[in-house]
């Protein structure tokens, strides 16, 4: 079972994320830039505005042309003389400024009336008069600026536009502080009033030149938008009835240094508007809207709406924050974060509106946040589901340990859900069968076996293990600690220090049986440690056989040698001298051959044991040792053993004793088959390749040699070279098998080339020690 490939799945999730991010960003951008969420923003704005209800300033006084005035003074429009009368009254009260929100656009039929009014305007200085724009204008012009009649124009301290800006829902929430065309920019009447009160343009008006035409309305450029911070519903400002003013019922002190707004509030005059706080029933007169504007500017509540780029940024920032967290946080955290972001957007928007003088429309951002979470959840589920089906499909296609399940045919087609359910059902079925299978396999093992968790507690045990450790049933051992189970076990004799839980050790059970314990790490499909399998093999019989073998070796090395040694000693003693020389010599010869045979068997047994004491040695040294060891025999026979090792070392990993014994056997062989006056040449040289450097040792004699067939059969176990005549060299067969065994155990290779009558050449190839170079020179 291959580990699940995580990368394609991750890529798929990233792809889904990018698609969701792009879609959400596009939606939010269109909503924000196209102001498609303006209605929603309006609702939120109105709700926030209710939080901003405050007491109106007392330095703003409205002189209202109200129903009572109309009833008392007659139908509207009134003659200009009546307005002049009011202005005169106002002048006496010396207000700070008068904004007369009544249009005197058309010249009166009586030019004297205009002049009289102009006089009154002058008297009540500073008096500000409104103008308006007629749309469309004359002769195809986009608009016409409708100014007051010329005398009034000159008499007024300022002319300001009083255009009302309706939102799409017909509610008045904003005003433009300047309107006009490229030629002339008309400030708002309230901006002018503010300047009269404070002597400087309002902060909302701003010093910077307005953008070219952010809000074009039929060619009329509307600039410097400002949200009106309404103080509350209609009728909250100090209001004096026009008629009371004219009749002198108002004390002058009431108006002293006040900002006086004159305007119509009477129902019949129609100058009424819906505002965020006006409620459904009561509309707000235009003059009161103006008063609210002025109040806001004076109180520092002038609210500047965010520009399109700012609004877009405000809408996208929370969206992207949430999108980024999709990749980092878990679904639950993402949901909390989304909810938190919605609250935060509303809170920031409200905070900016009420205290920062800034209107950041939140609806686009909120819609983005609300839409992106389900969108992402859907895509992520889709991706996860696709991944699961893929994995299940792949798993269904993998070869199964249990054949009957693997044979279950895959049904193509069908409904998607059916297919998924089918896959799931089969996967679960496979897992169940596999568990049964594993349990059966464990029970079927002949050795006591424990399956351990990584913390060395027993997960499963077979019957043999339960019998060994005294568990009564399958539950008996589960959860037990390995250390507790093997505590009564003693380390087998001959084992070194350490505990019985170490891998591959021999341990003696309390009943005397000896077990070889072997622990093997378990890993899961991804290669992580998942626990251990510990197997206890009863090796009592093997141990007994080993002891027997030791006893036989002991017999050979000592008990069989000792009598031969005694025979030799006896022959050399004074009593032995009595024996005839020829007889003594033959007895001596047999005794020596028996000794040699015993020694060869012992060497052979050593060569086949497990433990080779490997060390780094110079092959040349070993060759010299071997030659020196044989010097007595070779010099006695008159055969010269010549060793040339060169100046370089040939370092190999070897059991020094065994390899030297092997070389001794080979040289001894050469000496035995070479007649007096002959030579045995021993050489060491470097060989092999750069990747696998070797040391090559050749031992060549000038003896009688062999036929190629004999040379080929030389290294067969217990095969004795049939020599010419009846001469029989002792133990040669066993000697060469020993050589072959030792060389092979050193990962080496031995060959023999031979010609009858010319001699034999044995070539040994041994791998050089890897970290030392081939033939490294001897250094100080």
């Amino acid at each position: 079972m291959a580990p699940a490939p995580p990368r394609p799945r991750r890529r798929r999730v990233l792809f889904e994320w990018a698609a969701v991010a792009a879609a959400a960003t596009a939606v939010v951008a269109v909503l924000s830039l196209g102001q498609l969420a303006a209605r929603a923003d309006a609702v939120i704005y109105d709700a926030f505005s209710k939080l901003g209800v405050r007491t109106p300033r007392d330095d703003i006084v409205i002189v209202a042309i109200d129903n009572r005035s109309i009833q008392a003074l007659g139908r509207w429009p009134w003659p200009r003389a009546r307005h002049a009368e009011l202005l005169r009254r106002l002048a006496q009260a010396r207000p700070k400024a008068v904004a007369y929100d009544v249009l005197f656009v058309d010249p009166d039929r009586d030019p004297g009336a205009d002049l009289a009014l102009a006089e009154a305007v002058k008297a009540a200085r500073p008096t500000l008069l409104p103008l308006t724009f007629d749309v469309p204008g004359e002769n195809g012009a986009p608009f016409r600026t409708a100014l007051p009649a010329p005398p009034l124009r000159e008499a007024a301290a300022g002319l300001g536009q009083v255009n009302i800006a309706f939102d799409p829902d017909g509610v008045v929430r904003r005003a433009f502080l300047s309107e006009g065309d490229a030629g002339h920019d008309w400030p708002h009447l309230m901006e002018l009033t503010y300047r009269q009160a404070r002597g400087a343009p309002s902060p909302a008006f701003g010093p910077a030149p307005p953008p070219s035409a952010p809000h074009a309305l039929d060619g009329l450029a509307r600039r410097r938008p400002m949200m009106i911070a309404f103080t509350g519903p209609a009728g909250r400002f100090r209001t004096i009835s026009f008629v009371d003013m004219i009749q002198g019922d108002v004390p002058a002190v009431f108006l002293r240094d006040k900002l006086v707004l004159v305007g119509a509030t009477a129902d019949g005059l129609g100058d009424r508007y819906a505002t965020p706080l006006s409620g459904e029933a009561e509309a707000m007169p235009g003059v009161e809207v103006q008063a609210n504007m002025l109040d806001g500017m004076l109180s520092g509540h002038a609210i500047r709406p965010l520009g399109p780029i700012g609004a877009l940024g405000f809408a996208l920032a929370p969206l992207w924050l949430l999108l980024a967290s999709f990749l980092r946080l878990r679904p639950r955290e993402n949901m909390l974060l989304g909810a938190g972001l919605i609250v935060a957007v509303l809170a920031v928007s409200a905070g900016l509106l009420l205290h920062g003088g800034l209107w950041a429309p939140p609806a686009a951002g909120l819609i983005g946040l609300l839409a992106v979470y389900p969108l992402w959840s859907w895509r992520r589920l889709e991706a996860t589901s696709a991944y699961m089906v893929e994995e299940l499909d792949a798993f269904a296609g993998e070869p199964d340990l249990l054949p009957d399940l693997a044979e279950a045919a895959r049904r193509p087609g069908g409904e998607v859900i059916d297919h998924q359910l089918d896959l799931m059902r089969r996967t679960i079925g496979r897992a169940r069968n596999l568990r049964h299978f594993v349990t059966d396999v464990l029970q079927g093992l002949p050795d006591a076996t424990l399956v351990l968790a990584p913390d060395e507690r027993v997960l499963a045990a077979n019957r043999e293990a339960e019998a060994l450790f005294g568990g009564t049933d399958g539950r008996g051992l589960a959860g037990a600690r390995l250390a507790d189970l093997i505590a009564p076990f003693a380390r087998a004799e001959g084992e070194g220090e350490g505990d019985a839980a170490a891998p591959d050790v021999e341990a003696a059970a309390p009943d005397g049986r000896v077990f070889s314990t072997r622990r093997q790490p378990l890993t899961d499909a991804a290669g992580r440690a998942a626990g251990w399998i510990v197997r206890f093999t009863d090796i009592s019989a093997i141990k007994a056989a080993g002891r027997q073998r030791e006893n036989i070796l002991q017999l050979l090395t000592h008990d069989m040698r000792s009598p031969q040694v005694s025979i030799l000693a006896l022959l050399d003693s004074r009593d032995g001298a009595a024996a005839p020389d020829e007889l003594a010599g033959r007895i001596r010869g047999y005794a020596r051959r028996t000794l040699a045979l015993a020694d060869n068997f012992v060497h052979m047994a050593r060569a086949e044991t497990q433990h080779y004491a490997m060390e780094t040695v110079d092959l040349g040294d070993l060759l010299l040792d071997a030659a020196d060891d044989l010097w007595p025999q070779s010099s006695a026979k008159g055969v010269a053993v010549e060793v040339s090792t060169g100046d370089a070392e040939h370092l190999i990993r070897a059991d020094r004793s065994l390899l030297t014994r092997a070389l001794i056997n080979l040289i001894d062989n050469g000496v035995k088959y070479t007649d007096a006056g002959g030579r045995v040449e021993c050489r060491v040289a470097a060989g092999g390749t750069i990747d696998r450097p070797t040391a090559v040792c050749t031992i060549a004699d000038t003896g009688r040699g062999m036929s190629p067939e004999q040379a080929e059969k030389l290294f067969e176990r217990f095969h004795r070279a049939p020599s010419a005549g009846r001469t029989r060299a002792d133990g040669v067969g066993l000697g060469l098998v020993f050589v072959q065994t030792v060389i092979e155990r050193h990962d080496g290779d031995i060959r023999c080339e031979s010609r009858l009558g010319e001699g034999s050449t044995f070539t040994i190839t041994l791998p050089l020690e890897t970290n030392g170079g081939p033939g490294s020179p001897i250094s100080g």
Partner: protein, 236 residues
């Protein structure tokens, strides 16, 4: 000198006794470890030649008793049929000073006995020490081989002199390393083998020159001088 020989085999004991007597020393034969220990309680010996495998009390047990109970223990030579290298090392590590495998060559046994006497009852070394044609001048750290000066490094000189002084005696690697290099745990493991190889080559310590450097596997080295007349009767 008084030598005690221990062997349960009469022929062997006789052979050893004859050899010792022939070298001019006295030899007391013992056939059991208990008898030898009883003698050791009463009198002292200058050398013990012990067999390993004995009924009742083994040679190694005798060595253990000697090391424990004799205040100034004499040198001990193990003479045994046990040929396995592990046995050789075990015997030497148990406290034997040298080890000879039966059947012994008389020349070798004589040389080993002489080496043990020389070491145990050594006189102060001369300024110039001569060993069969090799002359060591410790002051000059110079060695000459039959009159020809051989150039050796200081370590090679020390190693060669140590081996010659302990002719026919097995020296453990630890012994040699500590004598020549001192206690140096960082010494490369091949250092000793390389120096042995070099003095063998420079001083021609080869059988045809009368000398042989024998590795005692898993233990150390021994320098032997071959008796040219006797070596012909050597066997495998």
């Amino acid at each position: 000198m008084r030598v005690a020989a221990l062997d349960d085999d009469e022929a062997q004991l006789e052979a050893v006794s004859q050899l010792v007597l022939a070298t001019g020393h006295s030899c007391l034969p013992f056939q059991s470890g208990k008898a030898l220990i009883a003698a050791l309680r009463r009198e002292s010996f200058d050398l013990l030649i012990l067999d390993w495998n004995l009924p009742e009390m083994s040679g190694l047990e005798v060595i253990g008793w000697v090391r424990q109970h004799v205040s100034d223990p004499p040198p001990i030579l193990l003479l045994t049929s046990r040929t396995d290298e592990a046995d050789v090392v075990e015997g030497l590590n148990a406290g034997a000073d040298d080890y000879v495998v039966k059947p012994f060559q008389p020349s070798i046994l004589r040389a080993r006995i002489a080496a043990l006497f020389r070491r145990a009852y050594n006189r102060a070394p001369d300024k110039v020490e001569d060993f069969d044609g090799y002359s060591f001048d410790s002051a000059a750290e110079a060695v000459s081989m039959r009159g020809d000066l051989v150039t050796l490094t200081a370590k090679e000189f020390g190693l060669a002199l140590l081996l010659f002084r302990n002719l026919h005696r097995a020296l453990s690697r630890a012994h040699i390393l500590e004598a020549i290099w001192g206690r140096n745990p960082d010494l490369p493991t091949r250092t000793l083998d390389m120096h042995i190889s070099r003095i063998r080559s420079k001083l021609n310590l080869r059988p045809d020159n009368g000398f042989r450097l024998v590795p005692v596997y898993s233990y150390g080295y021994r320098l032997e001088r071959l008796d040219a007349g006797r070596s012909a009767e050597a066997d495998a």
